[in-house]
């Protein structure tokens, strides 16, 4: 039995980059920070608020997201949306993810034969 701490460490390591991909996909529809946090949580991408909020700004700085203040409602919120470049990157990352999945399946099938 592998220790729980080791397991969660490796899982965290494996998932590290997937939050960015998930954000880029979810934000094809504009969303604000807290709502995005909940959406990601619900879809199985648990991420801490203190990781996500700075991450959104970093992605915006890299031109992958655009942002807009929505002041229509009582509480003004900053909405983020995936830019054209962000979409491009999310396609590349998705393709890479798929090819990784393929490779791993091949590895496992090779092991069984």
């Amino acid at each position: 039995m592998v220790e729980q701490e080791i397991v969660s460490g490796h899982i965290q390591e494996l998932r590290r980059g997937t939050v960015v991909l998930a954000c880029l996909i979810v934000l094809r529809e504009p969303e604000y920070g807290y709502a995005l946090l909940e959406t990601l949580e619900r879809l199985g991408f648990p991420v801490d608020a203190n990781t996500l909020y700075p991450l959104l700004r970093r992605l915006e700085k890299q031109g992958l997201l655009t942002s807009d203040w929505n002041t229509d409602q009582a509480r003004p919120r900053k909405f983020y949306a995936t830019s054209a470049e962000g979409r491009e990157l999310s396609d590349v990352l998705s393709a890479d993810w798929a090819s990784l999945q393929n490779s791993i399946r091949t590895l496992e099938e090779g092991d069984n034969s």
């Binding site: 604000y32 709502a35 203190n50 909020y53």
Partner: protein, 317 residues
């Protein structure tokens, strides 16, 4: 009175660049309010909702550093090994030289043994602290500089250490350094503190005072080189090039030393006569003994180096 949220937001934004502050403050406040609202909607009292929301966001300094993309470490992984290498080098080179210098200066000013040991240790600690502090400071600044994101000095195959055997240990290094310092100290000491004094009360040195014009400084130079050699030896262990350097250093001492002894330019005649020895005793008895000792010590040292270099070469094969 400011709320906990006010204080938390202020703690986050106070160290951020001016132009980002407003935007981040607005967004962070909205996010905190959203999270609190969700907690209250789930049935939590408003007071604990604020508490828990802020606790979940964690250390404001960490969040602030994350917004500003500041490193949360003193010396980055890109520089860590350069930093350690430089520190080691500085300590190995500068500390012995400083200690040796302080030792000599104290000796020259005629301090007692307690004072000498005290000031050597005190200065060594002081210098060690300074070296550590300033090196760390410089590397911490480099880590925080925008542009530099690659190692200061690139690593290369040539910089790999030799695998050496037998190794030269700390005891050998200390023994060499202590002997060399003692030798240098003795030369200085005999000039100012002698068992005999002349009519005017000044001490009569064992060595001829003329030697100070050239040969004693020359020997001090050799001692400094030997100190460096001992440190290099400690770091790399014996090998053939070092054994050769050892021969050169020995010859550089031996040849002038024998020439001086044979020409009766070493021992002070005034000192010998104070001892009550006949004047010719110096040349007839002491000189041959000195030559014998010099040659013997040098030969032993050279052979020792060669044997160890050979053993090292065999071990590396």
């Amino acid at each position: 009175m400011s709320t906990l949220t006010d204080r938390y937001v202020w703690a986050v934004i106070r160290s951020l660049p001016e132009k980002q502050r407003n935007d981040i403050e607005r967004e962070l406040r909205a996010s905190i309010d959203d999270a609190m609202e969700a907690r209250v909607a789930a049935g939590e009292p408003i007071r604990t909702a604020e508490h828990d929301t802020l606790l979940e966001l964690g250390d404001p300094d960490r969040l602030s550093a994350s917004y500003a993309e500041r490193p949360s470490f003193l010396i980055g992984p890109a520089y860590y090994f350069d930093y350690i290498r430089l520190l080691k080098l500085l300590y190995v080179l500068v500390l012995p030289i400083t200690a040796a210098t302080v030792f000599l200066v104290q000796l020259l000013t005629g301090a007692g043994i307690g004072a000498i040991v005290g000031s050597v240790i005190g200065t060594a600690i002081e210098v060690a602290v300074h070296l550590g502090f300033w090196t760390t400071l410089v590397f911490a600044i480099i880590t925080r500089s925008e542009k530099a994101r690659k190692p200061v000095a690139s690593w290369s195959l040539e910089s790999l250490p030799e695998r050496t055997s037998p190794r030269v240990g700390i005891p050998e290094l200390v023994a060499s350094v202590v002997f060399l310092l003692f030798f240098a100290g003795a030369i200085v000491w005999q000039q100012y503190n002698s068992v005999f004094t002349d009519a005017s009360g000044s001490p009569i040195p064992v060595l001829q005072p003329d030697l100070w014009t050239l040969w004693i400084p020359y020997v001090f130079g050799l001692i400094a080189l030997e100190l460096v050699f001992a440190i290099v030896l400690y770091r790399t262990g014996w090998n053939w090039p070092l054994a050769l350097v050892n021969v050169v250093l020995n010859v550089a001492f031996l040849v002038p030393a024998i020439w001086l002894v044979v020409n009766d330019r070493v021992l002070n005649h005034a000192f010998l006569s104070k001892l009550g020895w006949p004047d010719d005793l110096g040349m007839s008895v002491i000189a041959p003994i000195l030559v014998l000792v010099f040659v013997g010590v040098a030969a032993g040292d050279v052979i020792d180096g060669m044997v160890k270099a050979r053993r090292g070469a065999v071990a590396r094969r």
